[in-house]
């Protein structure tokens, strides 16, 4: 089982308990992503009200971080990302997850972000690692570390563990507190290969057993690409991954069924002692 860092957990708890929804899993709200057509359109129109509404909704539903991505605008990514950070921070207090492979976009967005941002993402690809590491250091940011190396996308549990080990070693050398790092084992679509689910689950378990204090997160919805009724698969997979040690997820927090399942799983995995949050949510009518 993963070694949840209590201090970090309490900090988040204090920060977010003003909302009735309390989720012990660390939720990164994925909705403000320009590769989604509706968001792309709203960003282009600079429809601040719409973006603010989506940001607020995600936090009210339990998001601990709000992801912002303007990657669909290849020429104006930096400007739009800055606009997103400014716009979203007008209405939510949780930190934002700055989502770009582009170091310039990340740096400029981190610069104007109020408080400590999360960087999404660093990888073990040498060039990307070298460019993004200084940003982590300068802004003391949290970071999502994706299991990709210069050798390519991982194809097995072993590939992932090797990349994870390399990343963890590098972070320790750079004096990056692993409690700030969210490792994403890289989820690939189950529709393409039936083993892709197990590969991620086994990786999560192994890394959790290392007890380094690193968080385990994942871009969950990749698992269901190419199949119908995707949210059903996403939900089932999330529960399985939680049992293996996943303690964070990049999801749509407004998916009520998903949130309900997470709360139930937290009781069952003894992450919600005495079912305190669960019962609170029941009484508030949130699980109906």
């Amino acid at each position: 089982m993963i070694n949840l860092n209590k201090n970090n957990f309490n900090r988040r708890w204090e920060d977010y308990r003003k909302f009735t929804v309390i989720i012990i899993m660390i939720i990164i709200g994925e909705l403000i992503n320009s590769t989604r057509d509706v968001i792309k359109e709203k960003i282009e129109e600079k429809d601040a009200e719409y973006i603010k509404k989506i940001a607020r909704e995600q936090v009210e539903c339990g998001a601990n971080y709000v992801d912002v991505n303007s990657g669909a605008f290849v020429w104006d990514e930096v400007d739009y990302l800055i606009w997103l950070v400014e716009t979203v921070q007008e209405v939510v207090d949780v930190p934002l997850t700055l989502d770009s492979p582009n170091p310039e976009a990340l740096k400029k967005a981190a610069e104007i972000h109020k408080g400590i941002p999360m960087i999404n993402s660093i990888t073990a690809e040498k060039e990307r690692y070298d460019e993004i590491m200084p940003i982590l250091k300068e802004y003391k940011s949290d970071v999502i570390a994706l299991c990709i190396s210069d050798d390519g996308m991982p194809d097995s549990v072993d590939d992932r563990l090797k990349i994870a080990e390399k990343l963890i070693d590098s972070f320790e050398k750079e004096d990056i507190d692993l409690d700030r790092v969210y490792l994403d084992p890289l989820v690939k679509p189950i529709s393409v290969n039936g083993e892709f689910g197990y590969q991620v689950l086994d990786t999560i378990q192994k890394i959790s057993e290392w007890n380094t204090g690193i968080h385990m997160t994942c871009g969950l919805s990749n698992i269901s690409y190419g199949l119908p009724k995707r949210s059903l698969l996403n939900q089932a997979f999330l529960i399985m991954a939680m049992e293996r040690g996943l303690d964070s997820a990049i999801i749509d927090p407004t998916d009520k069924d998903m949130i309900k399942l997470i709360k139930a799983a937290e009781v069952l995995l003894n992450k919600d002692p005495y079912g305190k949050n669960y019962l609170k949510a029941v009484r508030a009518g949130e699980l109906d």
Partner: protein, 211 residues
């Protein structure tokens, strides 16, 4: 014709054993190898492509169908002499320099191959110079480039420029795809086309080859 239709249906169902059995039977009955391929195996796969695009079939079913089609091809192909099989065209694909995301690109590869196109899959992280070299060597009708990252998308533009510099651009059609890639972007960098998914990419490639 009836047994060819059954071969097509077995491809659609992704049933390897039935495809093999019916293909062997069709050969015994004296069917032309070429018509087994065109009307049976590829015929079935064309239906799969249409249904996939319409959202009636899904990725694992397409993979199964492609596997079933291949199992039939393996039986029939050795019976053809070179040149018997009219090439429907040649397509070369790869992800651009710095980009390792290849799931979508591989789906495109499977789709075009199943439609009877000759496929050259260069793999991932292909530099502009490598693309140019391979284009020179293989002379494909279509070059398909994929990028999933905003930082690597511009490599598509770079590759097109290198192809232009080397005088290779005019002989090929270039199509692009990947999550952040749009029709606008394709137009801006001077590509010949963009497709949203693997089945559309296959249709686009065939359409461009026909031009």
């Amino acid at each position: 014709m009836a047994d060819l239709e059954n071969i097509g249906n077995a491809v659609i169902e992704g049933n390897v054993d039935t495809v093999k059995e019916l293909t062997n039977k069709a050969l015994e009955d004296g069917q032309e190898p070429l018509s087994i391929i065109k009307d049976g195996l590829i015929g079935g796969m064309n239906v799969v492509g249409k249904r996939f695009k319409a959202g009636d079939m899904f990725v694992p079913e397409v993979l199964m169908a492609a596997k079933a089609m291949k199992s039939g091809m393996e039986i029939v192909k050795p019976l053809l002499t070179e040149g018997d099989m009219p090439s429907a065209g040649k397509i070369m694909i790869g992800t651009v320099s710095g980009d390792l995301h290849d799931i979508g690109k591989n789906l495109v590869g499977m789709m075009v191959e199943s439609a009877g196109l000759e496929l050259i899959n260069l793999g991932v992280d292909i530099s502009a110079e490598e693309f140019a070299e391979e284009v020179k060597k293989h002379k494909p009708d279509v070059l398909g480039m994929s990028a999933l990252l905003t930082t690597t998308m511009l490599e598509m533009k770079n590759t097109i420029e290198v192809l232009e510099e080397q005088g290779l651009r005019d002989n090929i059609k270039i199509i692009v795809g990947g999550a952040p890639v749009t029709q606008d972007f394709a137009d801006e960098i001077g590509a010949d086309g963009w497709a949203a998914d693997a089945a559309s990419a296959k249709d686009l490639a065939i359409e461009l080859i026909g031009k």
